[in-house]
């Protein structure tokens, strides 16, 4: 499994990033405005409730009369009803924004992933991409919607309270709120401390995850080295560090919260003192005093949550950075506007304009190197006639896979060109090439779904009969019929319910159904029993018939039956010819073949060898 380091959080608020995100919120402008209005209403009513109490005290209790109490009760009930409706509206609107934004970003991200080049896939672990598309998007959507709720509510309420207080009694309001600047300073100080502490905790946490990973992966070795105790000691060091940092982080909150409460109570105390005196001097009413006391308590409520909201926004920002980096990554291989114009893109192809493909392939002076590596191919030239089958042999790293990757246009030559039927393939669309290309992998990949679904992947509008025919052609029909539900059998995630050999046969059937002009086979070395091996060999022969084909070959029988064998070494063709010619030459191929021959013989006796 791949683990990746928790990324450093950007400490600053990155405005350009949020501006970019704004684009994703725009479609939900309507909801955003509604949500803001509703939240302002919620905050406003929260400000009104204490006013109601004040009214009740001043007008009923102090005056000692009942008149209007029922009207008052009715109004109060109405407010409650409105507020309850507001709560529902806010949840629905925030929910629409959350789910909508998440849906949109995921779709956008997925689309981009479908177009990114293999150079991206080669260096990016699947786990990393998965995390971007799942938890990061989720966190971002949550925060945009619900963070917004908290912010607007807190802001409206604080401002509302301040305004009402100032309006009712300017002097008393100023006195009651005199602690606010102090609170602001303390908040800024503690927020920073808390955020920093949390960052440290997260970092140690990812180290602990790493340690667990290593502990489990290396458990066998640990046992044989009798290192259990040392490992545990090291691990305990980590968890102790985690404990210390977490408690420290918690301590800041533990100090900050009482501080807010106490500062708030000073406000309350001041309101009480001056307000109490004012009541006696009869400059304000009893109700007003009670109102001020409730307000001073209420005012500080949103402040307590400030640290939480702020840290949520920070981690949302980090999530946003990672997602945007995924969405903004540009595919390295793109079709030119002219090509797109006439042939369409992958999502919207125009097959009516596609020329027929014959299958002549030419590599002309092709140079290629991977991003950070040395030259893999240098002045590589190759001419293949339509219908020829080519076996590529050579050691790991010799450049066999690169040749195939270039042919499939998973990568493009750094210089030189690759011609298909005499035309540089960059002048045609990727979709055109790939639709005419069959590609069967070393390790066959199946999708969850039924056997039939998987074969149909080769040609989406294929009739059931075509599917059965394709399966029969590669000798897969027999074993499929033996499965519990035949073609309707679920293959499980990644085809996990089938054996490797069975998966291979299904992937051959899939390729046959697609009926490509050019066929690429990256042959598997994985072991299958002799009988299955024969069936697979037979299937390969059928698939190759009449198509231009490239095979990265490992099995002697496959190699032998190819029209042409290319021995590749250090990015060059060092031998070229058919089996009997190359054997006569007694060169590299001869040695390779004899070694391979021995290995295959041994394998037959010993089973898995060299794996």
């Amino acid at each position: 499994m791949t683990t990746y380091q928790e990324q450093e959080y950007n400490k600053k608020i990155d405005l350009s990033l949020w501006r970019k995100l704004f684009k994703y919120v725009m479609p939900y402008k309507k909801y955003m405005i509604r949500l803001t209005l509703v939240m302002m209403a919620v905050g406003g009513i929260d400000v009104i409730f204490p006013l109601m109490t004040r009214y009740a005290i001043d007008n009923f209790v102090i005056e000692g009369k009942f008149e209007g109490l029922w009207i008052f009760a009715a109004v109060y009930g109405l407010l409650v009803l409105i507020q309850a409706t507001n709560v529902k509206l806010l949840a629905l609107n925030a929910g629409s924004i959350e789910t909508g934004v998440i849906y949109d970003i995921r779709r956008k991200g997925f689309d981009n992933l479908q177009q990114l080049s293999f150079s991206y896939y080669d260096k990016t672990p699947v786990g990393w991409m998965m995390a971007r598309m799942t938890s990061d998007v989720q966190r971002l959507g949550d925060t945009i919607a619900w963070g917004m709720v908290d912010m607007v509510w807190g802001f409206t309420m604080m401002v509302g309270i301040a305004i009402v207080m100032l309006f009712i009694n300017f002097r008393l309001a100023l006195i009651s709120l005199s602690v606010v600047p102090l609170l602001a300073i303390a908040s800024v100080y503690f927020q920073q401390k808390i955020l920093k502490a949390h960052r440290r905790v997260r970092k140690i946490n990812s180290r602990i995850t790493g340690a667990f990973n290593e502990g489990i992966m290396g458990a066998k070795t640990t046992k044989t080295l009798v290192r259990e105790e040392e490992n545990l000691k090291e691990f305990k060091g980590l968890t102790l560090e985690m404990f210390d940092s977490s408690v420290r982080a918690a301590m800041y909150s533990a100090v900050y919260l009482p501080l807010v409460v106490t500062l708030g109570s000073i406000g309350t105390g001041l309101a009480m003192w001056y307000g109490g005196k004012a009541v006696m001097l009869e400059t304000i009413s009893y109700g007003t005093l009670v109102l001020f006391i409730s307000y001073t308590i209420q005012f500080f409520e949103p402040v307590r949550d400030l640290a939480r909201i702020f840290s949520e926004f920070q981690s949302a920002q980090a999530s946003a950075e990672r997602i945007m980096s995924l969405i903004d990554t540009k595919p390295e291989i793109t079709d030119t506007p002219e090509v797109l114009e006439s042939f369409g893109d992958v999502f919207d192809p125009k097959p009516e304009n596609w020329p027929e493909i014959k299958g002549d392939i030419t590599f002309r002076d092709v140079n290629f190197s991977y991003k950070d590596g040395e030259e893999v191919l240098e002045n590589f030239n190759l001419e293949v006639k339509a219908g020829q089958s080519i076996a590529l042999v050579g050691e790991t790293g010799s450049g066999k896979s690169t040749i195939v990757n270039l042919l499939c246009r998973f990568y493009e030559p750094v210089s030189g060109e690759i011609l298909i039927d005499g035309v540089n393939y960059k002048e045609r669309s990727q979709a055109w090439l790939q639709s005419n290309l069959g590609y069967v992998l070393q390790t066959p990949h199946l999708f969850s779904g039924t056997v039939k679904d998987n074969i149909r992947y080769g040609k989406l509008d294929a009739a059931d009969e075509d599917i059965t025919n394709a399966a029969k052609m590669v000798n897969a029909h027999e074993f499929i019929m033996k499965l519990e539900k035949g073609y309707e059998t679920e293959v499980g995630e990644g085809g996990s319910r089938l054996s490797t050999g069975e998966k291979q046969l299904i992937s051959f059937a899939r390729a046959i159904l697609a009926d490509p002009r050019i066929f690429v086979l990256d042959e598997a070395t994985s072991s299958v029993d002799t009988e299955t091996e024969k069936i697979i060999q037979d299937a390969i022969q059928k698939v190759l018939k009449g198509r231009t084909s490239f095979i990265i070959a490992h099995r002697l029988s496959t190699i032998r039956s190819a029209d042409r064998i290319l021995v590749i070494s250090h990015g060059k063709i060092i031998e070229d010819g058919n089996h009997s010619k190359l054997m006569r030459e007694k060169g590299h191929y001869y040695r390779l073949y004899t070694n391979q021959f021995m290995e295959e013989q041994e394998k037959e006796i010993l089973g898995r060898v060299n794996e």
């Binding site: 177009q115 896939y121 602990i208 968890t239 408690v247 992998l441």
Partner: protein
Amino acid sequence: MNAPIWVMNIIESIGGQDTLRQNIWMCSIAVVLLSLINGIFTYYKGKWSAVASESIAQNMKDTLYDKLQNVRYDYYVKAETGDLIQRCTSDVDTVRRFLAIQLVEVGRAVFMLGMAIAIMFSLDVRMTLVSMSIIPGIFLFSTLYYMKVKESFLECDESEGQLTTVLQENLTGMRVVRAFARQPYERDKFDEVNRDFRGKVSNLISLLAWYWSFSDFLSMLQMGIVLVSGVYWTVSGHMTLGTLVVFTTYEGMLLWPVRLMGRILTDMGKTSVALGRIKEILDEPLDKDEKEGLKPEIQGNIEFQHVNFKYENGKEVLKDITFKVKKGQTVAILGPTGSGKSTLMHLLHRLYDYDSGSIKIDGIELRDIDKKWIREKIGIVLQEPFLYSKTIKENLKMAKKGVDEDRIYQSARIAHVHDVITSFEKGYDTLVGERGVTLSGGQKQRVAITRALIKDCPILIFDDSLSAVDTETDAAIRKALKERKKDVTTFIISHRINTLSEADMILVMEEGRIIEIGKHETLVNKPGLYRRIWEIQNTKEDDLTA
């Protein structure tokens, strides 16, 4: 406890007590002081709940780690790393969060509720009853509602699972997607699950919206009832203004924990699931000696007598294994996959225990020897050795405490890896793995061999651990071993005839039995597996082309 009871006093004093009326500041100070005391308690609450929950989490992680290192060997064979890590990290965190936040909150809520109710009753019984009139309803509603919403939560989880699967399969199968130019199809497929998930979550949120809205409605209604009836009774002279204010303030405290109920119920559900998953790991049996084992000096004479072994699933792996090895001998083992070669070696290392028969080391029954002691004395290099993400030197040093550098270099030379290591930019301080240099399979094997050599064991096992090393280096390593480690009893699992032929004894295994035993000269002259392999590896090249 916050200000209310003092608020009451102040209001009351305004109405009645002249002394306090002149000195309202005293009440203000009292409010602040009380709040300060409250603050101190809050601080300790925060601190202690953090200390308690964090130390429980720390303890859990330590215990889990310890457990995972010490479970029986076969556990690792079937273990799913990702799932285990999930249990050890996020599940523990779920428990920690519940302890840190909810549990303390529950305690506080219960305490506050108790205090508030007691004070309220002492002030006005009738008013208290009114204050609590709707609360049972809210309580019942919350509980019932969350029971119902649970299903919706589950649906969301499942839908999210589907989304993850489609995404995962798309990413891992990207080459297939591209090869068939199936991007539009994949996009539709993803859009379907993406849309479904969005729908399920929206559904959940609208259910929750109902819940929040209705429970808020009930709560606020309760507040209103208190206010209106309080006003009525105050005006009609049954109650003081102070009491009214106290009741309106306390009502909030009363309602808050009730509204929290639903949240706590869901969290509790999640926590008990997490605890269950953690417990599964902790319930695994340990790899420990039943009784105190012997710790004898080990010479290296080994005797297997009629040893049988089967896995827990009942599959017989070794049948009637009998052979005898003298100190300093080299034993080579050959056999097809699944013939039991590795298991035989694992028995010797006490990674598994044999079912019947006897294995004696220097005449002592292996079962009676302390597990860790015997593992210290037998060096084993696994076929796919694991290097820790530390420096090469640290990886080597862990074999033996306080080993000096010369010995490390010397052992690395025997394993033919010294030159490779020194060719790295940072030499022996090169970091292995994740963020460091990726070693090739052969290099890893040789580092692991070095590690085993440093240990200086009287018995060494190479479990096909030279397979990724080329033939010449293989031969050189064996030669060096023979010179330096004359007294060490060595087992080598291999399929290379060169390796096998030099051994003092060759065991050929098939289907859990020893089918041939003897020296190269003997085995090569009688028909059988050994001879067939020998023939293949010695086929004249001309025979092939002929």
